[in-house]
């Protein structure tokens, strides 16, 4: 592998990893703070991608589609939390797994009713629809760099939100000890609602960003969901920093696995998880 093909793979790995981070950070927050196992997280990614498809067709531009789609997904998250998730906080993990599993079926079928079962594509916004030439016959899609850049900005914003703001302080307090946070006067119910909506919005946003490069297709949430769980488990449940490190690790393992050992590419990611868990059962940044 020469330097430029290596560079392309590296950029792809980072882009995939950062996209996974958007999904996994929401998932890990919902896990860590609300104590909810949300199998339907992949569905939010799918819904985001399909929203991007419809709204881009409507408005003619992915950016406006995202601007319209984000508030929609926040509202969707708040309603879902209010309608269903709220009833699960006191329940066993088992009930959460089941209810969200039922939701996957419902969302997937609603997708089929609303959008049908065809594969769709979403055009890359004109402004960034070009490739950067690297050598005579190798080039890199500018849009992929845009995805990475946007994800990095979001990651930075999340770091600021969680480490530097009052809301972030409450989120951290809720993650480390829910009862204590509540007794200190934090409105945990509202906090949960916010965290869930944030998670849904992040997942939907990831779906919208990824739509032009990954295409929009049925069951697209299923595969990415499991990978996100792997990211969360490797990083340590509830740790956003862990999610970032693990997402990049998975991005690298998956991308280079596909290049070096195409036969075993699917397994590489899970093997990595097994090794990490053997070493640290609570994940890289998880608390004991």
């Amino acid at each position: 592998m020469d330097f430029y093909s290596f560079l392309i793979q590296l950029l792809n790995a980072v882009q995939y990893g950062l996209l996974l981070f958007l999904l996994a950070s929401g998932l890990t927050l919902i896990f860590g703070i609300m104590g909810i196992i949300n199998l339907a997280h992949g569905s939010f990614y799918m819904i985001g991608a399909y929203l991007a498809f419809s709204l881009t067709a409507l408005t003619g531009n992915l950016w406006t589609a995202i601007l319209l789609g984000l508030p929609l997904s926040v509202v969707f998250g708040v309603v879902l939390e209010w309608l269903l998730m709220r009833r699960l906080y006191a329940r066993d993990h088992l009930d959460q797994v089941l209810l969200t599993y039922g939701l996957i079926l419902v969302f997937e079928e609603m997708r089929s009713v609303v959008w049908g079962n065809d594969v769709h594509s979403v055009p890359i916004p004109k402004l960034v629809d070009f490739s950067i030439p690297l050598t005579e016959n190798l080039s890199y899609q500018a849009y992929r760099l845009v995805i990475s850049a946007v994800c990095l900005v979001i990651a930075g914003a999340m770091y600021w939100l969680i480490q530097r703001t009052r809301l972030g302080m409450m989120i951290r307090a809720g993650a480390s000890n829910r009862e204590m946070a509540q007794s200190l006067g934090i409105n945990v119910r509202l906090l949960f609602s916010l965290v869930f909506a944030l998670g849904v919005a992040l997942a939907a946003f990831a779906g919208m960003l990824a739509a032009p490069v990954s295409a929009v297709f049925p069951n697209m949430g299923g595969h990415i969901l499991i990978i996100c769980f792997v990211v969360v488990v490797i990083g340590g449940i509830g740790s956003v920093r862990g999610a970032m490190v693990a997402a990049l690790m998975i991005g690298l393992a998956d991308t280079f696995g596909k290049v070096l050992l195409p036969e075993a590419a699917g397994i590489a990611v899970y093997l990595l998880m097994a090794l990490v868990l053997l070493w640290r059962p609570q994940g890289l940044f998880g608390r004991q």
Binding site: R87, V97, L103, L105, I237, G266, I267, Y270, Q282, G283
Partner: protein, 324 residues
């Protein structure tokens, strides 16, 4: 009639109905019931982990699918495989893989356990999906169903749908009896103790890890039995039988029926599969109904259908008590 007697006679009546069913039911329903009884074994095996030991596995399909693949790989192309060699081989493979996976996953607990079992099942899924080992994503066909053969003497083959039905029924009852005996033994009591309070069991001197591992291997082996039967009935295997949807469905059967009882998962397997059959006949978008139904069950029936029956039975008993 008191509560246990009521439940027992209900169970006996169910077995009697199952025994007579192929005489009355259509070929379609005989096949459907065969499939359900296979899934009942699968669900009971998972209940040993979820309902009795407190280990929520979301990767139980790994052992189910693995045994199916062993049968497919050992079957000659146009001749019947021998039940006497392929079944023990399939069970041994499931048991060995359950032992290996169990040694790793039992280091974790709670949410981590759910996720890690899921991840290991996915690993197997991709092993069969991405490599040529088991025909890739297309899978392998099993053209001829296995037969019992003892040095050339063949007492029966499983080609006939009715024979397969009774064979499966016998195995389902055997698994029920086996698990019942296991759960009444010291070993089974220890598992239930682990579910209630693992710390306390450990301080009482039980090596809880070994108990959990033994339960995990037993459950994996029984899941293998069910997967072997299912692969035989469907006539093919593909990676989907190892997929996490399969694990999710069987977990649903356990919960729907009511975990922590042996009749519950069987009831769940029947209810889930028959409902799916009903919804499929109603609409193309049956998943919407099934998903909605699952959500509703979680919200309204936290203890499943079996819990509902038990509740009704105690209600009956209580009303009798008031009348006297």
């Amino acid at each position: 009639m008191n509560h246990t007697l009521w439940m027992r006679s209900l169970l006996a009546a169910c077995v009697a109905v199952l025994l007579l069913f192929p005489l009355a039911g259509s070929v379609y329903y005989t096949q459907l019931f065969t499939k359900i009884m296979m899934l009942s074994i699968f669900a009971m095996s998972l209940d040993l982990l979820v309902g009795y030991t407190g280990l929520v596995s979301l990767g139980h399909a790994a052992f189910f699918g693995l045994a199916g693949y062993v049968l497919a790989l050992m079957s000659p192309q146009y001749a019947a495989a021998n039940l006497l060699t392929t079944l023990p081989a399939a069970l041994a493979a499931s048991a060995l893989v359950a032992l290996a996976i169990g040694l790793l996953v039992l280091r974790t607990s709670g949410i981590y356990f759910i996720m890690v079992t899921l991840a290991f099942a996915q690993m197997l899924y991709y092993l069969f999906h991405d490599t040529k080992l088991g025909g890739g994503s297309d899978g392998i066909y099993i053209y001829v169903k296995p037969a019992l053969s003892i040095w050339g003497w063949v007492p029966f083959t499983l080609e006939s749908k009715v024979v397969l039905y009774y064979f499966t029924l016998a195995l389902m009852l055997a698994v029920y009896a086996l698990l019942r005996a296991v759960l009444r033994s010291t070993f089974g009591r220890a598992l239930q103790g682990i579910k209630a309070n693992e710390q306390r069991m450990r301080s009482l001197g039980f090596a809880t890890f070994r108990y959990k591992l033994a339960a995990f291997v037993l459950a994996g082996t029984l899941a293998g039995l069910s997967g072997y039967l299912a692969a035989m009935q469907f006539g093919f295997v593909n990676p989907e039988i190892l997929s996490w949807h399969q694990s999710g469905n069987v977990l649903m059967m356990v919960i729907l029926g009511g975990m922590g009882s042996l009749a519950g998962p069987v009831l769940g397997a029947f209810a889930f599969t028959l409902l799916q059959d009903l919804f499929e006949s109603l609409t193309k978008h049956w998943q919407l109904l099934l998903g909605g139904f699952i959500v509703l069950v979680v919200l309204v029936l936290p203890r499943g259908l079996f819990g509902l029956f038990e509740y009704l039975a105690t209600l009956r008993g209580r009303r009798r008590g008031h009348d006297d």
